[in-house]
């Protein structure tokens, strides 16, 4: 079955939700993950620390250089991602809809290249 990367894009420096809201969002996200597991769609999930903690490493020319901060200077950065298996794009888009509804951020759906390992 095709695999898709669902990336959650969060606005850097956005007002954090109140503790009550955060708890509600986490409960809703957990419920969607449970639903994915029950449906056999769930492959992997990971939440990320703030993008300011990122380091970019460049070593193509043999010389190693590092820069502090995320690769792309964007207002929105990936805050977490889920890898799912879905029969087709419509199914993946439906999981993305549920995910975005739960976490309140936009979710990008991107297929993996080629067939997944058996």
């Amino acid at each position: 079955m095709p695999q898709y990367l669902l990336s959650v894009f969060q606005e850097e420096g956005a007002e954090p939700p109140s503790p009550g809201q955060a708890q509600m969002i986490m409960a809703r996200v957990a419920a969607v993950q449970e639903e994915m597991k029950a449906a056999g769609a769930w492959v992997f999930f990971g939440a990320l620390t703030d993008a300011s903690s990122a380091t970019v490493v460049r070593a193509a020319g043999g010389e190693v250089s590092m820069t502090d901060g995320p690769y792309a200077e964007a207002k929105e950065q990936i805050g977490g991602f889920t890898v799912i298996e879905a029969a087709d794009l419509d199914e993946a888009l439906e999981w993305a809809r549920k995910g975005s509804e739960a976490c309140l951020w936009p979710v990008e759906v991107r297929p993996f290249l080629g067939a997944p390992p058996a």
Binding site: P2, A87, D88, L89, D90, A92, V109, P111, G114
Partner: protein
């Protein structure tokens, strides 16, 4: 035996999209389906002059395309099995590749293809280009002319869209009832664009391209029957039928364009008008107005006028105001300006035209020319007509505009 090139072109226009729709299902890949259909038409061009056109040319093309594709796949299968697997469009219930299935499922295949081409994950521009290319059988250059963009831009748009369909594993199916409403908007827009392209061909010597208009109406009918709870689907069908009813009067004896005002209304198709009216009553009764229903209502006002002089232009301007609120865009504003010219005269029309930004659209300049001529400003009218002539690539429209220009003396 020989084969009339016009007949061959007509068969291509009529059958290419239908055959492609079935071949996409059978082969599970758009590019392979297009190649196979092109191969089959090449075989037809070779054989039909000697053998004659088969009684069911579409079935012949589909079968030949299927056989050619299978031969090609067999040749390539040992070398490219893995790549082909990776490239295959996902089909939730794949047919065995050798099985064409019941040819009566052709309308279903076309609906599958139009929902694929109009998938909301594709941009609107890509949806339109794909539908015209795959269902309409239009060449890239024709699509480019219809949308006033350079051909390479359309080529890129098409290949990018097809790659996305393949890479994201879009399904080849008719959406479930619960998804239909939201999936319908882009489908209606593309069907109507196919209709308007057929009604006023973007290029060549024919003003009308009946295969496209009848194809759009046919898909529109299938769609309206499939979604009876969606008044805009019936509204679109009513609009196309009421416009199509005027087709017999749109061209003169020598293939020249006859304007609405000068048409012999006894030649309008009363059967289509009656069907359009009935559809319109049915969908307006649902009290969920939309742009297609309003445009159909405008066409119905024209159909009700036994002569151009008794047209209820006040009603038409009111309907265009309504339409502009529903979908504000420059082409709607241009059509409203034409109604304003009839209702309130050329000065009011010129004021309305000053607000419209359509410098690359020949009908904008043709409309301005008409308003200027009526206002007695012949010199400026001639300039506007020359601009319109330079911008149209349809030979019939160009001749019409040149005759207008000559008339200004």
């Amino acid at each position: 035996m020989s084969l009339d090139p016009d007949e061959f072109a007509a068969i291509y226009r009529r059958e290419a999209g239908r055959c492609t729709a079935t071949l996409v299902r059978v082969l599970g890949d758009i590019d392979q389906a297009e190649d196979a259909v092109a191969d089959a038409f090449a075989v037809a061009a070779d054989r039909w002059p000697a053998d004659g056109v088969p009684p069911n040319p579409g079935g012949w093309i589909t079968t030949t395309a299927r056989n050619r594709a299978i031969d090609r796949l067999r040749r390539e299968s040992t070398r490219h099995a893995r790549e082909r697997e990776a490239m295959t469009l996902h089909d939730p219930a794949p047919d065995p590749p050798a099985d064409l299935g019941d040819l009566d499922t052709v309308p279903d295949d076309q609906l599958r293809l139009i929902f694929l081409c109009c998938h909301p994950a594709l941009g609107a521009d890509a949806q339109v280009a794909l539908t015209l290319r795959l269902l309409g059988g239009l060449a890239t250059a024709e699509i480019a002319r219809a949308f006033l963009v350079p051909p390479p831009a359309i080529g890129q748009r098409l290949s990018r869209a097809k790659r996305k369909i393949r890479d994201t594993h879009m399904a080849y199916r008719i959406p479930a009832a619960s998804e239909l409403h939201q999936r319908l908007g882009p489908v209606l827009a593309t069907i109507y664009l196919i209709y308007t392209e057929g009604h006023s061909a973007s290029a060549g010597d024919d003003l009308l391209r009946p295969a496209l208009t009848s194809e759009a109406i046919r898909i529109g009918r299938t769609l309206a029957a499939l979604v009876p709870g969606e008044p805009e689907a019936a509204g679109l069908l009513a609009l196309m039928l009421l416009t199509e009813a005027r087709a017999p009067a749109r061209l003169g004896e020598h293939g020249e364009l006859v304007r609405l005002a000068d048409q012999d209304r006894s030649r309008w198709d009363r059967v289509l008008i009656a069907e359009g009216h009935e559809l319109l009553r049915g969908c307006i009764g649902q009290n969920r107005p939309g742009p297609y229903q309003v445009q159909a209502a405008i066409a119905a006002v024209h159909a009700d006028a036994s002569t151009a002089a008794v047209t209820d232009w006040a009603q038409i301007v009111t309907l265009y105001d309504h339409l502009q609120r529903l979908c504000p865009n420059a082409v709607v504003a241009l059509n409203r300006a034409i109604a304003v010219m009839e209702h309130r005269g050329p000065a009011a029309a010129l004021d309305a035209l000053d607000e419209i930004d359509l410098p690359a659209y020949h009908l904008f300049h043709a409309t301005r020319a008409e308003a200027l001529r009526r206002a007695g400003r012949d010199g400026e009218a001639a300039d506007a007509l020359r601009r319109a002539i330079a911008l149209t690539s349809n030979a019939v429209e160009r001749r019409h505009l040149e005759a207008e220009l000559a008339g200004l003396g």
